[in-house]
Point group: D2
Chain length 354, copies 4
């Protein structure tokens, strides 16, 4: 039995991130049900095969590569290493996860990141073009070859179909590959602002990934490789980066479950709805948002006193101070967000309404 002595202290409910809980119960049950079978390892188990079939069915394409890796950092580092030659660079927003939160993993595999300022968390044809214009002096400068975007972005915003298509068109003209980090692609594609399907994403990128960790799985992200040349040797990169699990069945079971029907999207939508509820309450109570709530991240500007009162029962990031009296806080919701806790949070906010 686990040592839970340290868990006896009063715990505050967490809105810190979207990976605080374990797996969605349906995934856990599938894991239990599969536990006794013997499977061949390293990606050749029957559950991974089913997971690939299920994902391909959602994509409407039988011929795309699907590869499971254990973490978002491995998904990004492997995908970028597979796309680039040693002298080629990737263009990313300076707020991008590969720039700010991956311990230089992209550089560790030898590649320069060309930073551009984010526009509402996003890249645009104009900012990409500016990066190309600034990186022209060959062979003295690394050659831009790949564009990295996140959807949802690090600030919770989503790309519209037209925005993504415009980037894709530019990439085709400029001979650039396009890569989407989909750690929160579920939240993006179930946003009320979204007008894309998973199949659209496939069509409008060369390679992207579907985040499991932040949407119901214990671990695992599914990298989808549309580009046949990239897909061919992709598993070598997965293995070389230490990301090909012997018991690949774990990720197989989870993704088979998430994509057999619409569970993946149902879970993501739940997180978005919780965020919207929280967001509306905050606005209704007369407080401002730092950014509009498009997915499962709420950035709210609250009085310091309210922040402190909320901190008695809840944990969340205090992003930055605005002035003497107010601070921006970041609140994350997920499929696992407790309805009663959310209600309690909202009531506390409302109790401050004048």
């Amino acid at each position: 039995m686990p040592d839970t002595s340290c868990m006896g202290v009063k715990e505050r409910y967490s809105f810190l991130d979207d990976y605080s809980e374990g797996a969605h119960p349906q995934l856990l049950e599938a894991l239990i049900a599969s536990n006794h079978t013997q499977e061949t390892g390293y990606g050749n188990d029957r559950y991974s095969a089913e997971a690939k079939r299920n994902i391909r069915a959602h994509l409407g394409r039988e011929d795309v590569g699907v590869f499971f890796v254990p973490s978002g950092t491995s998904a990004n580092a492997i995908s970028i290493a597979a796309c680039l030659r040693p002298h080629e660079a990737v263009i990313a927003a300076s707020s991008g996860h590969i720039v700010t939160r991956e311990t230089g993993a992209v550089e560790a595999s030898g590649h320069k990141i060309i930073n551009v300022p984010p526009m509402n968390g996003k890249l645009t044809p104009a900012t990409i073009t500016k990066a190309l214009d600034d990186n022209w002096h060959f062979p003295h400068m690394a050659k831009p070859r790949l564009v990295y975007i996140s959807n949802a972005t690090e600030v919770g915003t989503v790309y519209s179909r037209e925005e993504l298509a415009a980037i894709k068109r530019l990439c085709e003209v400029k001979d650039l590959l396009l890569f989407m980090d989909g750690a929160r692609i579920g939240a993006a594609l179930t946003s009320t602002r979204n007008d894309m399907t998973l199949a659209d994403v496939l069509e409008l990128t060369d390679i992207f990934w579907i985040g499991g960790t932040k949407n119901g799985a214990l671990l695992g992200e599914a990298v989808v490789v549309e580009h046949a040349g990239l897909a061919q040797d992709f598993e070598f990169y997965v293995k070389q980066h230490g990301s090909l699990l012997a018991k690949s069945r774990i990720m197989g079971v989870e993704f088979a479950e998430l994509f057999r029907g619409n569970l993946y999207f149902d879970l993501a939508r739940r997180g978005n709805i919780a965020a919207e509820k929280m967001s509306r309450t905050i606005v209704g109570a007369g407080f401002a948002l730092r950014a509009e709530t498009e997915t499962n991240q709420v950035f709210a500007i609250l009085p310091i006193d309210l922040v402190q009162e909320l901190q008695r029962d809840f944990t969340f990031y205090v992003w930055e101070k605005c002035d003497e009296d107010r601070a921006v806080v970041r609140l994350l919701t997920t499929w696992a967000t407790d309805v009663a806790q959310l209600e309690k949070f909202n009531q506390t906010v409302l109790s401050w309404t004048r």
Copy 2:
């Protein structure tokens, strides 16, 4: 419900490897029990903390670094990257896992492997000294700085305390670090040939790891870093290699369970006992072994006809042909090996006895 249609075909029982099954039931139950709690991520969950305490208790040392990573390849690549400067090399047996089965992951992080011929799967002071003698022409040659060994080795043999101590003494004299790949350290330390404890291994190496994947866990290996300088920044390497899981609790829960008592060693011993039973049956039936069975790997020389008969009900590696009539086969057993299937295998072998 999983699509099990493809599982309808008659399945053969597998002695192919030691990662065919899921988790040991006790680990799975702990995972279920822990699933609903909220934990901070990236190694800061309470289960990982308990797992570290439990492992340290087995080691008898409070001050060693313990880090969880998802795979053996990541454990090796990260540990070696942490030990070496760019111009430093690692000495390994040419049969070593890092040489033959990791897609050049060590080289991918920039380091040369100096190969030496294995002696019964092992390195010796003599073979290491030879490698040093051959790599002297500085700065034209990479500088040997690390020795990599596996226990149990890739052919199932184990190091005695004296063998390991002799290597350690040489390393100290020659200013070399010593690293042990413990993918099968459980099997090694519960071998009837073994005379070491886990604490001995700590004392006689600078860094080693405890394999979970091949001994009851769904995934995960625990890297133990005795060397304080190495331990200090080790987590950066874990993160940079994409091996720091957001839901680090999964590995925490499993290792907490494996090392609360002696479960880890009990499971490993079970695999060894099954291998010994199989091995004795084979010898008793008049067939030879290619190598003595010291852990959970059996290398047997069997008539081709017997091999074919066994293949009707079982899967295993046919390692190489000896001559027209005989082949070497490799058979692996584990904590999960089915007693009835083992008995059936043994009966088939015995039925061939003249």
Copy 3:
């Protein structure tokens, strides 16, 4: 005899860069004089030994490492690789040579560059501190460990002793190494703005290099390593990067000559004086400078028509347009700048004075 047919066309005189000519005649003569002796290779020749003695005499220290490499990019890439562990990053101005003109060589050896905005081409304690404040979230962010500065900077400005000392003090407090790119250190230390000696630079950095290529040598830069731990294995890095020349005598001969007396500084001063003359003429003629001329680079704002007239006889960079009528041009002078050509240039400028 060289094919000079293509050289028959009227050639314009170049103020494009500071590496258009061959070697200073004194170096060439030394090269000729040394040509027939037999020398041991790979850094062990007698000329390299003398060059090191001569440089150390200028530094007033016998115990520092001195290493010759063929190019500025190799000097930077090797020095940075020697300073950093895989998870450590270097802080540099976004205008730094390693950021903008080395094809991602720093990233190719695995390291992240943290960009900060330049202040008059320079880093300051404030901008470095900001970079540290932004890169705190360990182990998710690469660890800042090294500060890269250029003196003279990419825009021709120089550090005062106090400016450098302030950066050094911050580095010591924050456990950062300090590295100076000295491609144009000669120009910097002979600037009328300079108040440092080469020995001061040694004292106030951990590692720096003395550029030969841009100050009279055919090729070669001398990396000076004050930090004993860094110096110990430095030659391995030089060799691994392909920068340890078999006939190391070439660089040895040149640097022995440059630092036997004050030739190195005399040559650099000549370039600065030519720039100052040009700069004063431009200002005297009523035109503005984009930046004050501190070393051998002149950034002038000239009427487009004048630019075009000058381009009939001279080549130089048109840096950027200011408006419809004016552009910024960059003009470089050196020890080899032809007095008559400079005079002709200046006369053309003066002829435009109203």
Copy 4:
């Protein structure tokens, strides 16, 4: 004036290597003649252009890439980095220069070297095939993609046209690239055993290089890239590795001279002839060779007493002891080998004849 005080001691004549002297006088004169012209840098000077034309004329092909780099290690590391994706490996003889004398430069750019035992210093279709057979377990093993050979080899032997053609045929069948290290390609192609031209080498490889350092140049090797895809971005690699010299004219001038006529081959032949003379003397005096003398390296088995007598006047490598009385010595000759010294050496040997 150089400090030659340390040169006052009696110097022994060196047969240690083929880079003890400076440049061939004709190259030095060309360097002097070119010194005053202004040239654009980084490979765009007129001398490099002429050098490329001259080399292409020897090759009989206008459309191949030619790139100058300062050292053999840079030529190898850059070429191999340009040929391989991160998961791809290079096959080389275990005696190959990249294996034994380049401080792990190939591994430092991320690639595994698959070692095969040399046959008289060479690779053969059989040994390459064995390497392919041993490296099949994808994606767990790095993928063989490139074959590295040296001509002349590290032990002075040369490939016949048929030997090279057989390797090339195998490479084509197996989708492998073929790369020849030509540090001593001059000696190889002027060997009495040789039946190939430089154009043959171009036809039978994908990429190779022509060594200048060991055949009359101060520094520099010319990499010839037949494969159009490789050639396209090759200069990026040169720059990223710190090997694109600002004053590229130095290598341009030298190679323009070496390949305007047949100087390159004339110089190499001189070294071979000297070696043959020495070799015949040794055999004529009744001593054995360790290997037949095919190029400019002599491996002789001499009595220890004779070795010691020779060491009074000459330096050379004592390769290894044969028994109590005899040792293998390595003697290198070049275009610069002094006829009188060679004669003196030979006389000493002959004086031992019984």
